[in-house]
């Protein structure tokens, strides 16, 4: 861990705040304490909103939970829907779902991975990557991309739409879907729905490959910057299949050290607390998970696309696995350890997700009618999946009246909390130390955060509720400058 978490004399330092971090799913805030010479003394990524969702669902009947948890997030509701359903499978003793049920859930999950990755890359990150981190802010958004590269913008729209259609057909509705239920699913894909998706899936595969190659080209064109930007060493955590393959829906936990050694493998996630613990820090609402065996100082880790692509032994779809091997070998493996390598890995995963969708559409089990199983009722349920942003843990206890009495959710962004702080600190050291603060420089911080695709807290968006506030405080703590930028770009003092 770097030594910039807490400054020795913060009361003497100037504070620059970016609040909220733009183009991140939710609100975050970065504070940088500078001295009079603009030397960085302290950097922290704060989470400013308390979610309180675990409390929100206490006292609810367990069968409501897979639907209710979708209200947690407007970007990844399906991930919570599936993780909660897996937890409630365990509650019902439904250890092995029917082929039709598991395949329909997987189809829904891959649709979610695809649409979320497409949103992130084409809408949130491609402006940074295509135009450069210092480019004018007016260009650095998806409309800027559309203006200069209309085909890329159009592909982004259609890839995301396809993923949303997969979700709609498997979950039953665009939002508040009910497709996954404890013990299985309540609908299978119809033949008509399958044929509709099959008509477009090969085009989606082609565009996804193009997106992988686009990121590769960007790396090749900016090799030194991309490899060095926000770079730090981290342990990795992800689910893997029994044979070591990437599996985004189910598997055992694998942790790999920053030196590449396996710390534990195929660990049964139903007892995740034996290997993962959550630390708290006074300055953040978000917890800091760590590997128990290494402790809070040394045990923090990274999750998400970069961790998954580098942690698995192979990807079980041919096109994505070919891209994975090229990614791992690129520049003697340096891209696979770069913070911006997240983008490359994310596009490899999008390709994998679309390949999986194609395979499932060709599998007649997807239209099966044996959808539910039950078993011996228990009192505890743990469901873990690899959500778009990383490992997602849902853990519930249910009483004899079928009501939830305790819930614990460890979301992907929480796993990445310390890792994001490390990335921000590295960028601050690289780009802010000794310089005047400019919008372009501050955007470097945001580029590092965006690489993780964090979801800090969202699902509310009412008009007027997403300002960006920048405050500059002098060494005495007085505000010397303050700007508020609304979502429509209007700036007020």
């Amino acid at each position: 861990m770097s030594n910039l978490e807490t400054a020795e004399h913060p009361e003497k330092l100037r504070r620059v705040a970016i609040d909220p971090v733009s183009r991140v799913e939710g609100h975050g805030k970065v504070t940088i304490l500078l001295d009079d010479d603009n030397k960085v003394h302290q950097v922290r990524l704060h989470i400013v909103e308390f979610r309180g969702f675990e409390k929100f669902i206490q006292g609810r009947p367990y069968w409501e939970v897979p639907v209710m948890v979708q209200r947690l997030c407007g970007i990844c509701p399906v991930s919570h829907h599936i993780a909660a359903s897996k937890a409630m499978d365990m509650m019902l003793g439904a250890e092995h779902l029917t082929p039709a049920a598991e395949k329909n859930r997987r189809l829904m999950h891959y649709g979610q991975i695809m649409q979320s990755h497409a949103l992130h890359f084409f809408h949130l990150c491609s402006p940074d990557l295509l135009f450069g981190f210092d480019s004018e802010v007016a260009r650095r958004n998806i409309v800027g991309v559309a203006a200069e590269s209309p085909d890329i913008a159009r592909q982004g729209v259609l890839l995301r739409k396809f993923g949303q259609e997969v979700i709609r057909m498997t979950a039953g509705k665009r939002i508040h879907g009910t497709g996954a239920v404890p013990g299985g699913v309540n609908k299978a894909l119809t033949r008509e729905e399958r044929d509709t998706l099959l008509a477009d899936v090969y085009q989606m595969i082609a565009w996804s490959r193009d997106a992988v190659h686009l990121v590769r080209r960007l790396f090749e064109q900016n090799l030194e910057q991309y490899n060095a930007f926000g770079r730090f060493r981290a342990h990795q955590l992800s689910l893997v299949r029994a044979d070591g393959a990437m599996d985004l829906y189910h598997g055992g936990l694998r942790a790999r050290s920053m030196d590449g050694d396996i710390l534990f493998d195929h660990f049964d996630y139903r007892h995740y607390w034996d290997v993962i613990f959550e630390d708290v820090k006074s300055w953040s609402y978000m917890k800091f998970p760590f590997l128990r065996s290494l402790g809070p100082e040394q045990g923090w880790y990274r999750v998400g696309p970069l961790a998954r692509v580098t942690n698995c032994d192979f990807i079980p779809t041919p096109l994505a696995d070919k891209e994975r091997r090229e990614f791992m070998a690129f520049d003697d493996g340096r891209a696979a350890g770069a913070t911006l390598g997240f983008h490359w890995a994310r596009m490899i995963e999008m390709l994998h997700a679309v390949e999986c969708i194609k395979d499932l559409l060709h599998d007649d089990d997807i239209m099966g009618d044996d959808l539910m199983v039950t078993g011996e009722r228990g009192g505890r349920g743990v469901g873990v999946i690899e959500a778009p942003r990383g490992t997602l843990i849902h853990h519930y206890r249910v009483d004899e009246n079928d009501l939830v009495v305790r819930a614990n959710l460890i979301v992907s962004t929480t796993h990445n909390n310390q890792a994001m702080n490390e990335a921000v600190r590295q960028v601050a050291i690289q780009y802010l130390d000794g310089n005047e603060i400019t919008e372009g420089l501050l955007n470097h911080i945001e580029v590092a955060i965006r690489a993780f695709d964090p979801c800090l807290s969202c699902a509310t968006h009412a008009l007027g509720k997403m300002p960006m506030e920048v405050e500059l405080l002098d060494a005495a703590g007085e505000v010397v400058s303050r700007l508020v930028k609304s979502a429509d770009g209007a700036v007020t003092a």
Partner: protein, 170 residues
């Protein structure tokens, strides 16, 4: 594929966050009214957590579009105005504003978007787990009555005429 209904109502909101539920609730009440009037074939209703740029695909082939959302600092009980086409120059694409969606439409589809209006209902409480506030409930009813009046005359000129002093019309 069947032709798109000429009028689209696109409501945005999260029912678990207090007054953020205004959009979805209004949409459902309007849906019941449309059923009573036998007008469901003329109007498509879509509910979402938030707008994103793929919603440009939902705008295709429409004659009129109405975005319905909750608003903070919105005049009580609601505001109704024409959505201007806007190029995004803000800092976020976390969720796309209706005006920006029209701008994206023009770029992605290389065509002018359909005429669109915004019905923004005043809300004040947006915390997770909060119910709809009593004040928002009052605003909701007035906004719903107004939306139904709009749908009785789904014509551009008629809607445009309502954008002036819309609050006093409620």
């Amino acid at each position: 594929m069947s032709a798109a209904a000429p009028v689209l109502l696109l409501a945005i909101g999260n029912e678990s966050r207090g007054d953020d539920a205004l959009g979805p609730l209004l949409l459902r009440r309007v849906g019941e009214w449309l059923e009573d009037k036998g007008l469901t074939g003329e109007v498509e209703l879509i509910e979402e957590f938030q707008l994103q740029i793929e919603h440009t695909l939902d705008l295709k082939g429409r004659e009129l579009v109405l975005f319905i959302d909750a608003g903070k600092d919105t005049p009580i009980p609601y505001a109704f105005y024409r959505a201007a086409i806007k190029r995004l120059d803000g800092h976020t694409t976390h969720a796309v504003a209706p005006e920006t969606l029209l701008g994206v439409y023009a770029m992605v589809h290389d065509a002018a978007p359909p005429p669109a209006f915004i019905l923004c209902v005043a809300g004040s409480v947006f915390e997770l787990g909060e119910p709809l506030s009593a004040a928002a409930e009052l605003n909701l009813q007035q906004a719903c009555d107004f939306a139904c009046r709009l749908l009785e005359r789904p014509l551009l000129a008629a809607w445009q005429s309502q954008t002036q002093d819309s609050v006093s019309l409620a």
